[in-house]
């Protein structure tokens, strides 16, 4: 099966119902994306498929054929730079396990909405669980990332 991940083409020999998460971690060695619940409940495994945030732990790899997967390792600079700067500035993570999913979900929000309100952030992020409850810092960092993104463009 031909897959495109972070702009690179891969030929993988896997069952068509294998979750995308298994393929990117175990077959391609891209370990940034995390396994959280395995049931699309927590958001830790969020990646982008043709720009859409998806829960890779339940999405069969057959869904990605002919499409572009982007993981946190391949997030484009327009989004990754302001998000990384904001996350660092606000010192968002505690244990950090869910943060890949948080950032990938935040990236979709920032791409589609230059001026997210608190409500927009809640709408976009309430499906990403953080057991350290860093939610207030995530909200603050998304506001900052939006400002940084605007000032750099």
């Amino acid at each position: 099966m031909q897959l495109t991940v972070n702009g690179k083409s891969y030929d993988v020999n896997v069952p068509s119902d294998m979750p995308i998460l298994w393929v990117i971690r175990d077959k391609l060695g891209l370990m940034g994306t995390k396994f959280g619940c395995g049931a699309a409940q927590c958001g830790a495994c969020t990646v982008h498929l043709d720009g859409q945030g998806i829960r890779s732990c339940v999405a069969p790899v057959s869904r990605a054929e002919g499409k572009e997967i982007v993981t946190i390792e391949g997030l484009n600079d327009t989004l990754s730079k302001p998000l990384m700067a904001a996350w660092t500035e606000i010192d968002v993570p505690q244990c950090g396990y869910c943060q890949t999913g948080q950032i990938m979900a935040a990236a979709v929000l920032l791409r589609d909405n230059n001026n997210p309100t608190d409500q927009d952030i809640d709408n976009a992020m309430s499906g990403n669980i953080c057991r350290c409850a860093t939610y207030q810092r995530i909200r603050k960092a998304i506001h900052l990332a939006a400002e940084l993104k605007k000032s750099s463009s």
Binding site: Q41, Q52, N113, N123, G127
Partner: protein, 180 residues
């Protein structure tokens, strides 16, 4: 004199037939209503902008919202979790390629409606967006997402065929509005 009596009898008979059809139409709707209000149907026709889940029709976890097109918001689109087909296993998302709620402009709310209120809504083109009552039949009979509602979890109390038959009977016999 005999002619007048005959006309009166005919009118009474017609009236009786009309009343009978109306009663049958209402009875058919009462049966179909059990399906409309079953969680497999109503969960995607909520009163608010949050879909419902489960047999107790609780608010969808994760704070999922309708969005303008009925397909969710940002990284919380329906298809972020719901795949093209049901996933095997407990508590895994059911799936269909066209998983969605009605749009924000036409939310088609079922939740909280009495049979009378729901039947009146179905006869309102602004509610359904349909040009004729026949399109309601078309929707319940052929819409893939409607059909899919009969394939997973606790099933509605009628089979899909029985449900379609009741909707057809309701409309075919005049789409009578229930009393309550």
């Amino acid at each position: 004199m005999a002619g007048v009596i005959a006309v009166c009898n005919l009118a009474m008979m017609n009236n009786k037939i009309v009343k009978q059809r109306e009663a049958e139409s209402k009875a058919a709707f009462a049966e179909a209503y059990k399906v409309f209000m079953h969680p497999r149907c109503m969960n995607c026709h909520p009163a608010g902008d949050v879909p419902l889940q489960g047999d107790d029709s609780h608010l969808h976890t994760q704070g999922v919202k309708r969005g303008v097109d009925g397909k969710g918001l940002y990284a919380m689109k329906c298809s972020s979790c719901h795949q093209a087909a049901n996933l095997d296993g407990d508590h895994l998302p059911p799936g269909h390629p066209n998983w969605h709620l009605p749009t924000a402009a036409r939310p088609m709310v079922f939740e909280g409606k009495s049979p009378r209120e729901l039947a009146m809504s179905f006869k309102d083109a602004k509610f359904t967006g349909f040009k004729s009552m026949d399109q309601i039949i078309e929707h319940v009979e052929h819409d893939k997402l409607v059909q899919h509602s009969f394939t997973y979890g606790t099933r509605p109390p009628l089979s899909h065929d029985e449900f379609v038959a009741k909707v057809k009977e309701w409309i075919g016999k005049g789409a009578a509005i229930p009393d309550k």
